[in-house]
Amino acid sequence: MATDTPLRDLSGGKRAHRGDRVFNRTITGAAFTSLVVLAGITIFLGAQTIPVLQDQGLSFLTTTVWDTTGVPPEYGIAGMLYGSLLLAVIALVIAVPVSLFLAVFMVFLAPAKLSKILTNLIDLMAAIPSVIIGLWAFYVLVPPAEEWQQLLNQYLGWIPLFANDSGNFSGTPFMAGLVLAIMMIPIVTSITAEVLKRTPPELINAAESLGCSMWTMLRYVALPFGRGGIVGGIMLGLGRALGETIAVFFVLKIVFDINFFNILESGGGSVATLIVSKFGETNGEFEVQVLLAAGFFLFLGTLLVNALANLIVRRTERLRS
């Protein structure tokens, strides 16, 4: 047994090359920058949030009052927080299936040329500024979409989700969710297609030689293989949906009461849109702090959603291996 032979110092190898050293430091520095920015945002928003919570207490998060002129003034963003979540869910329900179908079509079904054109178009779509989407939705999408909502209500109105008692179909959560879905689709589709393209050809071969149809190949080979990446893509899209401000501003009527599930009823909430619509009419420093505090909780929410998504991805990965 040669246990007495001393261990050698191997760290020299890592330091040897000067170019590598500079490169490593640059990369490490760049990586830390993002952490610093994240920390900076958290600290700034957190500092603004403390006086608001001291003044308003937890009712800031749990109530739906927005009384700027009262004595004392009262603020509650429960409806906004819930609204942001509701819009994101509506957007997800619409965007995910559409994106998956589109990606599968592009990767496995479309002729090469068409697939290339679609890929470029979708990447282009992702680059449209949200204010343009908002304007387009306001002028072009809203009028027909109001009729679609009426149809939904007419045939599915017996389900509470699609009920509408007021007869007013403008500025509904459904409308805002639809616009958000349009913004999510390019992101989710692009990432899903990229992931599906990476399905190992030998696994596709295996499935084909076992006599399976396109559908079973997708179900048992391509989608399980790409699951982690696809969930990641959906989460990126969800991030956009949760934080989107301007596009929603054009199509959603902001109301402070919580609209729990009447998605075809006029009026809903969105933290980001609340901030942008109230920011111009703030009166005094405290009101600005109130809006920043609302932003803090939106920020917290998106972080939470992302962490949750990571957890889901990791758990499914672990179950597999």
Binding site: A206, E208, S209, L210, G211, V221
Partner: protein, 285 residues
């Protein structure tokens, strides 16, 4: 070093035993399982295979040999209709399976692929499935209903020569197996749907000699019950496992064609074409 020598020696012994077992003069008896008639193949405008005629007797092993790029793999993929899944692929001629044309209008390619299984160059078990799941995946993917799953798993893994090594860990992941074991698992998977023909596209080219030998044993065992068509770049392998051999060749920028075919003993022992003689003696390709 000594241990390496012994292992090599042992392998050589095994090989010679195998060769003794194999009766390579087996005459073309019995019925024809598959037959290719005037098969030509194109990718887009490029013709890659010219007028191939070949018959595969039932329960025989046919080796397709020839240099890279001469259309062997393309040909084998026309035999279970995998060829048509490549964009731009076209085909002329007929492929008969048990007497009827597999490219006829009313034939479902899925049925063809279940009767004519395939094993590829690179072992391709489904990594997310267990060993057992992989064996049964063909049934699942094709929607076949069979109740005797345990029997199928044991039977096919035994046929593929893998049962003894994995019987205590059927629920382990397929990715944990060695390359050679994975390839035998893939063979078991192909057998589970009960094919009559097994196509093998260079099944041993990614494997070490010991695993190769195991696969070759498996091939000999299987050929008692099913018809096997194997593409190989390994001359010794063709001699060891096959009853018949076809030699493919393609001149530069021309489609591939069959130079010579016949009993393996004839092709290797007494080839009629000078090019065959050169190739089987390793003088080109």
């Amino acid at each position: 070093m000594d241990s390496v020598k012994t292992a090599t020696q042992e392998m050589m012994n095994n090989m010679s035993e195998l060769e003794v077992e194999v009766d390579k003069s087996k005459a073309p008896v019995g019925t024809t399982e598959m037959e290719a008639k005037n098969v030509s193949v194109w990718f887009g405008k490029r013709k890659v295979l010219e007028d191939v005629n070949m018959a595969f007797p039932k329960n025989s092993v046919t080796a397709l040999i020839g240099p890279s790029g001469c259309g062997k793999s393309t040909f084998i993929r026309t035999l279970n209709r995998l060829h048509e899944l490549i964009p731009g692929a076209a085909l002329a001629g007929e492929v008969l399976y048990e007497g009827s044309d597999i490219y006829a209008q009313n034939v479902d390619p899925v049925h063809i692929r279940l009767s004519i299984g395939m094993v590829f160059q690179k072992p391709n078990p489904f990594p997310s499935m267990t060993i057992r799941g992989n064996v049964l995946s063909g049934l699942k993917l094709s929607g076949m209903k069979r109740s005797d799953h345990d029997d199928i798993v044991e039977q096919t893994l035994t046929s593929a020569g893998l049962w003894k090594e994995v019987k205590d860990r059927l629920n382990a992941h397929a990715g944990d197996l060695s390359g050679g074991q994975q390839q035998r698992l893939v063979i078991a998977r192909a057998l589970a749907v009960n094919p009559h023909v097994l196509l093998m596209d260079e099944p041993c080219s990614a494997l070490d000699p010991a695993s190769t030998l195991k696969i070759e044993e498996t091939i000999r065992q299987l050929s008692k019950e099913i018809t096997i068509i194997i593409v190989t770049h390994n001359m010794q392998q063709a001699v060891r496992v096959s009853d018949y051999t076809a030699f493919f060749l393609a001149e530069e920028n021309k489609p591939g064609y069959v130079v010579e075919q016949g009993a393996t003993t004839e092709i290797f022992g007494n080839p009629q074409d000078q090019r065959t003689l050169d190739y089987v003696n390793g003088r080109f390709g």
